[in-house]
């Protein structure tokens, strides 16, 4: 493999000046800034979650002045985590990886890429600024009217309007990013990189981008209608004036259900890159995985009303059936992953450990989600802590474990340094145990009928112990961030030098230096399968995709 050291200047990690970073159009710097920005908001959202958990540790209202403040806390927790952490974090991983993985020098529209990035901290700051303008949004991340409508008993403050504006801004950033990914993937692939030789990560970003481009503008329409209702006397969602509150729910979930896949498909992509590398095997059923991804994307547009079973305004059998159907392509992927591991030469490095965390936790999230797909069960579980358990098992157990697998996997490529394995495993176990201690009891709380979004509960309801356990777990998750931040800090200074390809990877990003030069590649290996680097290492005996 003749890819070494053709560009010696790029070997040293040149830390650009602040100006360089602020004005860069390099997808790698932009990707890293996406990741850093998202991580900061992850910490802020995490602190808000700790406030929520601390208040719920015991019955009674101990720490917060009133229920309204509690409503602000969980509303902003969810909003920050979904819109300013998970979605942009995965977009950031994709931003760094996609052009490298398809052998391109950059994204198709580098300046639009920078625009997408810089809208995110602006949107996040708008959200946080609402705390200083008389209170943030407090109607939940779903912001259903009439709760989110203008009015003394609804959401009178400017916080709700700032929330709307911030979400439109972040949504626009997503749409521009999605367009950028699609044009990059369709137009910028290196010679030989056919669609069915693309890494799975690129495929998941492709499907995600289609969802983003087609679904995000729909929530923008819901948000502008809500804004018009609140500020200009509109009547879209006011039933007393001929509007319809359920209309908002329909439009909102038409985006927000596909958004669920926006939040998990790229994490699946990360895991599908990590598992083959650390099992020393090709991904089992490469094409089946791609079709399953496309299937999930397509079905994602036809299940939105399963969030609205109890409104009585949706056709239950249709949405229930299609929701169950989603389990089929998802199950296909589970088999892909498990049979990739089967009889592999496993190396339990931190990326694999986090990927296994993803597999197990996402499996639970899939199973407890299937309960809610069943209409009669959902009628009992709707708006209880069961739903909170489910969504965290897919979003935290799935996406966040996948995100950390990706960070540990690509950190050597980003910086030229390895992260410390011991601290990585410590972080994993703290996070894994803390996560299950926090969210598994919520299944029990849900079955026992504890509603979500309440600041207080009766001390004789039998919910005390589970709530206390969940709170302890929450602090355990928070503590898992300390070894991670310390790990990044010491590894940047003294970490083991990574070299081009520390994991013996399969995909093109490992064919260039760590970190890569601004133009990415001096030379590309021949691309004859979905594992061009494997082929380059082992002659041409590699598994050909077709």
């Amino acid at each position: 493999m003749a890819t070494h050291a053709l560009s010696p200047a790029a070997q040293a990690y040149s830390r650009g000046t602040l100006y360089d970073w602020l004005t860069t159009t390099d997808h790698k710097k932009i990707g890293i800034m996406y990741v850093i920005n998202s991580f900061i908001f992850f910490l802020v959202g995490g602190v808000l979650a700790l406030v929520v958990r601390t208040e719920l540790a015991q019955p009674g209202l101990q720490y917060l002045t009133n229920e309204h403040v509690y409503n602000e806390m969980f509303t902003m927790h969810a909003t920050l985590m979904i819109f300013v952490f998970v979605i942009p974090m995965l977009a950031g991983l994709g931003n760094y990886a996609v052009p490298l993985m398809i052998g391109a020098p950059d994204m198709a529209f580098p300046r639009i890429n920078a625009l997408s990035l810089w809208m995110l901290p602006l949107g996040g700051l708008l959200l946080i600024s609402s705390f200083f303008t008389g209170g943030s949004a407090a109607a939940g991340w779903t912001s259903y009217p009439p709760l989110s409508a203008e009015g003394p008993l609804n959401s009178p403050g400017a916080g709700q309007d700032l929330w709307i504006v911030a979400l439109v801004l972040i949504g626009t950033s997503s749409i521009l990013g999605g367009i950028n990914f699609l044009v990059t993937i369709f137009k910028m692939r290196a010679p030989g990189m056919t669609l069915f030789r693309m890494p799975i990560m690129v495929w998941t970003i492709l499907v995600t981008s289609v969802l983003v481009v087609m679904a995000t503008p729909v929530i923008t329409s819901a948000l502008v209608m809500l804004f018009i209702d609140r500020n200009y006397g509109g009547h879209f969602f006011d039933p007393f004036q001929g509007g319809s509150a359920v209309l908002y729910q329909n439009i909102f979930w038409f985006y927000s259900h596909p958004a669920v896949y926006v939040m998990v498909l790229p994490a699946m992509g990360v895991v599908s890159e990590v598992l083959p590398v650390f099992s020393r095997k090709p991904l089992f059923g490469y094409k089946a995985f791609i079709f399953a991804t496309a299937g999930i994307g397509a079905l994602g547009f036809s299940v939105w009303a399963h969030h609205m079973f109890t409104t009585g305004a949706v056709f239950l059998p249709f949405f229930s059936l299609l929701t169950f159907l989603i389990a089929v392509p998802t199950g296909v992927k589970m088999f892909n992953w498990v049979f990739t591991l089967f009889r592999g030469q496993l190396t339990f490095s931190t990326p694999l450990v986090f990927a296994l965390g993803f597999l197990t936790m996402f499996l639970i999230g899939g199973i407890n989600g299937a309960f809610s797909a069943s209409v009669p069960v959902d009628f009992a579980l709707h708006d209880t802590y069961w739903v909170v358990a489910h969504l965290h098992y897919v979003l935290f157990g799935g996406s966040v474990f996948g995100i950390f697998a990706g960070i540990y996997y690509w950190f050597p490529k980003w910086t030229g340094r390895m992260l410390n394995e011991g601290l990585g495993h410590l972080q994993f176990w703290l996070m894994f145990i803390g996560f299950n201690l926090t969210f598994f009891p919520m299944h029990m709380l849900g079955i026992q009928g504890m509603p979500r979004r309440i600041a207080d509960y009766a001390s004789d309801a039998g919910w005390n112990d589970w709530n206390l356990a969940a709170t302890i777990g929450g602090f355990l998750i928070a503590s898992s961030m300390l070894p991670f931040i310390w790990n990044v800090f010491i590894s940047l200074r003294n970490g083991k030098v990574a070299g081009d390809d520390p994991w013996e990877g399969n995909t093109l990003e490992w064919a260039t230096t760590s970190p890569p030069p601004p133009y990415n590649f001096d030379h590309l290996p021949e691309i004859r399968s979905e594992r061009p680097l494997f082929d380059a290492r082992h002659g041409h005996a590699g598994h050909a995709g077709h």
């Binding site: 137009k187 729909v218 018009i228």
Partner: protein
């Protein structure tokens, strides 16, 4: 899959540095593909607004409400505005065809006409709004006023965006840019302009005739 077959075709002539050269021959240009995807997202945005319109309309009878029974008369100033906007799509396409054969004079003339027609449409819409306001119809006049002004207002905002695009294309054209080989911006602006035109045709038919 055309990109695929093309990628396969160039594999044979692979040399270390030629491998980095990304092909721009044939196929759709990055800019035009980007604009088509952007228009896709815009279609979905208007789909959300149209869905709200039909949902609201279906649950409110009579539609329009009695007090505004005859306020939306298609054979008025709005018909003139409609004809102007549809004509501007034709002049815009004439500009594209002109620049494709390097007829810069025809291109500039037609882009300028399109730009002016776009501005006139906006002025007529503003005038039409003022007439409606005089008769007491506003954004707050029940679901009827809310949907009418939201849908036409967002369309007007998109026309405004299109006029700015055309203005940029016109300015760049007048300063000597664009040729038969390099005119992606013209193609992209024209696609967007056709899109706002089609949205208006739908809006006009649905709001005034349906």
């Amino acid at each position: 899959m055309t990109a695929d077959s093309h990628a396969l075709a160039t594999t044979g002539e692979h040399t270390p540095l030629a491998g980095l050269a990304h092909d721009t021959r044939g196929g759709i240009s990055n800019v035009v593909l980007g604009m088509l995807l952007f228009i896709t997202s815009e279609v979905m945005f208007f789909a959300g607004l149209f869905a709200a319109y039909f949902n609201t309309r279906a649950s409110n009878h009579p539609w329009p409400p009695d007090e505004f029974a005859h306020i939306l008369n298609p054979f008025s100033i709005i018909l003139v505005a409609t004809i102007i906007l549809i004509s501007s799509s034709f002049t815009c396409q004439l500009a594209v065809w002109a620049i494709r054969r390097s007829d810069r004079t025809g291109f500039l003339r037609n882009i300028a006409i399109t730009f002016v027609l776009g501005v006139v449409f906006l002025l007529l819409q503003a005038y039409d709004y003022s007439l409606l306001f005089e008769e007491g119809m506003t954004l707050g006049s029940g679901p009827f006023g809310t949907t009418y002004f939201t849908l036409t207002g967002f369309h007007g905002a998109h026309v405004f965006g299109g006029v700015i695009m055309l203005g940029v294309v016109l300015y760049r054209g007048m300063s000597g840019q664009f040729s038969s080989r390099h005119h992606d911006a013209v193609e992209a602006a024209s696609l967007y302009w056709h899109f706002v035109d089609v949205v208006w045709i739908l809006l006009f038919s649905i709001l005034y005739f349906l």
